[in-house]
Amino acid sequence: MKFLLKISVFIIPMSFIFLFFILLTNEDSYPGADYDIYEIPQFELKDLDNIKTINTDLFSGDFVLNVWASWCITCVIEHPYLMRLNSKGIPVIGLNYKDEREDAVIWLNKYGNPYKTIIHDFKGTLALDLGVTGAPETFLISNGQIVAHFQGEVNDLIWKDVFLPIIEERKMF
């Protein structure tokens, strides 16, 4: 028993150290990115103002689809970059994920709205079909097809390394 105690007192902190060592030296720099190409799933949802009905037809051109929510801290960090994309003229559609309308509106008023359109997915049904696991996640959509998907905060580095090669290859926007 005493031996076990000694060993565990030693092993628990050391395993935390080891864990962080692995995480820090992890070379795989963009673990959240994948480039599977697939169709946008069929859906019909309301927009954030609960006025317009939005369905798959929306995605005829080239878009960035950003999954966000007012409860998501990383979304706040990501937000200025989306504003920049918007000001560069890249259309960004928001998918408001498992969020109350009112909270989402407060959030947008507080930080500003980078989105052309916002789909309100309260139950997370569309998000589920898209393979979303949390917020933020970002999709690159070209003519109804998903061509890139990234989980986590999009910033300049991610944009240049994950999305830009695809955009240039497909001559999007």
């Binding site: 820090l24 959240g32 949390g134 989980q151 986590g152």
Partner: protein, 631 residues
């Protein structure tokens, strides 16, 4: 030239601190008065060099010496002197510099004030010195604040983040740092005790005052941070379970358990194993906090530096410290275990329960911080762990802890005591708490069980201690004033947090100029909107006249600013403070139809959350200056 002098002084200090450590830990004849005198003096000189280096650095910042890269990046000529100084700790390099200066400052005060326990003191100074050397090497090798822009310095610097240009934020990091690094003293004392290996040495007595002082700084620092986030970030909450908040909370929890465990070890030489383990844990968690914040491994609203090299260095440093201290601990564990058994329902038994409870809380927070990282590594997916996880864990455990605290009031040191619910104080406070909770339930017509239970638990503590206070005034029955204040503040904290989450509400309203809106009992008149141009930002300032149900009228002027240098938009909240509630207002965007979106929050008892945290700190300060610890 002056920059190089400052730089050189800190290099010299590192050398001197290394010598101190070497003298203290690697020379065999420590017993000579000569050697301990040498250690003490060399340490003071090392501190002198370091503090001079820092003072020169502050002076460089005040005089806008932009040939220093760090100052050029984080300060500019337009800033008031106060913010020129605080710009030093607005980013990584300067923060680390301040951190090290504080570390050596604690050691210096320890060095000049402690007159007894020569050997223990000398060894502790040696350990503190090695910790300082480790951090100084980190500073000079990976994050040099003295790097210069040569030959031509920029005429003006960048701006500091406007969110950080705030008095509370200028004071909050230094206070926190003082708390974090203050735990180097109990840590050093514990390690030198383990090195000596003589159970007769009472390192706990030596470390007590320092531990409480560091705990006070940590408590006040966290409270200031919470208060700043409330009015400056415009989110209107007091706690977000943000990773950076969590890494400050963990050492606080560990430290709270530590100071309790320490009192048992001093009183009856029991729980010494716990106390040593906790002293190592507190300091490791403080370093871990530095690691998390500085390595940028976690996304956070605080997001500071992002540099794996720094992270690796700090991690290796923490790893070495933990490895050495745990090895020593495991070697000595059998000799420091107390032969005395802990009596059932004695004070000691409750404090050992307390250790376990706090251990569970620390482990949960640690899990909450690390789990997203592990998950991301294994499954390539990011997840966010937030308030629901922490609430699910903290609420039941804190309620349980409150019950234990309630019963512990009746317990005695080293003696069995029996419990009966029919005992007058227990019975009375139970009845009072139950009736008050029922009253809350009916008056606010709520069936929220977690909140009602929390209110009950908080009130139980408060009533129980009120009974003690009454007893003291009527019958001169002994009370420990520090314990009473600290624990009643805890009760107040629990009650305030419960009522805050029960009653607070927020809403975004659409409002035109010169129009009325109503929200809850408030009548809101949008009187005017002004656009102003200031020296470093444009601002939109709204004027609202708000009238509450009692007919009190007051103005609220929320503001939105756009800063020129960074293009950053900040919201300046308008808050009307009353003892019971805050009316909190931020202004959003203008809609196409000309109306404005305004966000209103009514936050109940939020001031009491900070007041009770500060009262806990006050209890600590009183204890430090009391007769009890003067010996």
């Amino acid at each position: 030239m002056i920059i190089e002098i400052s730089h050189f002084l800190s290099v010299l200090a590192a050398g001197l601190f290394f010598l101190v450590g070497y003298f203290a830990l690697f020379t065999s004849s420590l017993n000579t008065a000569y050697l301990s005198n040498l250690i003490s003096r060399t340490y003071s000189h090392g501190f002198l060099f370091l503090i001079c280096s820092f003072i020169i650095y502050v002076w460089l910042a005040i005089t806008d010496n932009f040939s220093v890269q760090y100052i050029a990046n984080h300060s500019n000529t337009a800033l008031p002197t106060f913010y020129k100084i605080s710009s030093i700790w607005s980013a990584h390099e300067g923060s680390m510099f301040l951190w090290i200066v504080f570390l050596s400052l604690w050691g210096f005060i320890f060095n000049v004030t402690v007159k007894n326990e020569e050997i223990l003191k000398a060894k502790s100074i040696g350990i503190i010195s090695f910790v300082i050397v480790g951090f100084l090497l980190f500073l000079l090798a990976t994050s040099n604040p003295f790097a210069t822009i040569l030959p031509i310095a920029p005429l003006n610097g960048a701006d500091i983040n406007p969110v950080l240009q705030d008095p509370a934020l200028a004071i909050h990091p230094p206070t926190l740092y003082l708390g974090y690094v203050g735990f180097v003293i109990p840590f050093a004392c514990a390690i030198s005790f383990l090195l000596e290996g003589k159970t007769s040495i009472k390192w706990e007595v030596l470390a007590r005052k320092w531990s409480i002082a560091a705990w006070v700084f940590l408590t006040v620092g966290i409270t200031l941070g919470s208060w700043w986030a409330y009015y400056e970030l415009g989110w209107g909450g007091y706690w977000f379970w943000d990773p950076v908040e969590n890494v400050a909370l963990m050492p606080w929890l560990a430290a709270t358990a530590f100071v309790h465990s320490l009192s048992v070890s001093i009183k009856s030489s029991q729980l010494r194993v716990w106390t040593i383990l906790l002293s190592i844990l507190v300091f490791s968690l403080s370093l871990f906090g530095a690691f998390i914040v500085r390595s940028g491994i976690i996304d956070s609203v605080h997001s500071f530096a992002n540099d794996p090299e720094r992270g690796l260095y700090l991690l290796a440093f923490i790893g070495i410290i933990i490895f050495i201290s745990i090895s020593l601990f495991v070697l000595r564990i059998s000799s420091i275990q107390s032969k005395l058994t802990i009596k059932k329902f004695s004070k000691q038994s409750f404090i050992s329960l307390n250790n376990i409870i706090f251990g569970a809380l620390i482990f949960s927070v640690m899990l909450g911080v690390t789990y997203p990282l592990i998950y991301e590594y294994l499954f390539d997916q990011k997840i966010s762990i937030g308030a629901p996880f922490y609430n699910a864990i903290f609420i039941p455990i804190v309620i349980l802890a409150s019950f234990f605290l309630f019963f512990s009031v009746d317990s005695k040191w080293s003696r069995n005591s029996s419990f009966s619910f029919l005992k007058k104080p227990i019975f009375l406070s139970l009845i009072l708490s139950i009736t008050s909770t029922l009253f809350v339930m009916i008056f606010f017509s709520t069936k929220n069980i977690p909140i009602l239970l929390s209110v009950f638990a908080g009130l139980l503590i408060i009533y129980r201690y009120i009974y003690e206070i009454i007893n003291y005034f009527l019958y001169k029955k002994f009370i420990n004033p520090f314990s009473v204040i600290a624990h009643m503040s805890l009760g107040l904290l629990i009650v305030s947090i419960s009522f805050n989450s029960l009653l607070s509400s927020e809403r975004a309203i659409n409002i035109y100029i010169n129009e009325y809106e109503e929200y809850k009992d408030l009548k809101i008149l949008f009187q005017d909107l002004g656009v102003e141009e200031k020296s470093n930002y444009d601002s939109i300032k709204a004027k609202f006249l708000v009238e509450d149900i009692k007919g009190n009228k007051f103005n609220l002027n929320p503001e939105k600013r756009k800063y020129f240098t960074r293009g950053q938009i900040t919201t300046e909240t308008a808050i009307h403070v009353t003892p019971l509630r805050d009316i909190y207002m931020t202004i959003g965007d203008q809609l196409d139809d000309g109306s404005w979106i305004v966000n209103i929050q009514i936050n109940y008892l939020i001031r009491w959350i900070w007041i009770s945290a500060l009262l806990m700190g006050l209890a600590g300060i009183m204890l430090i200056f009391s007769k009890k610890l003067r010996a």
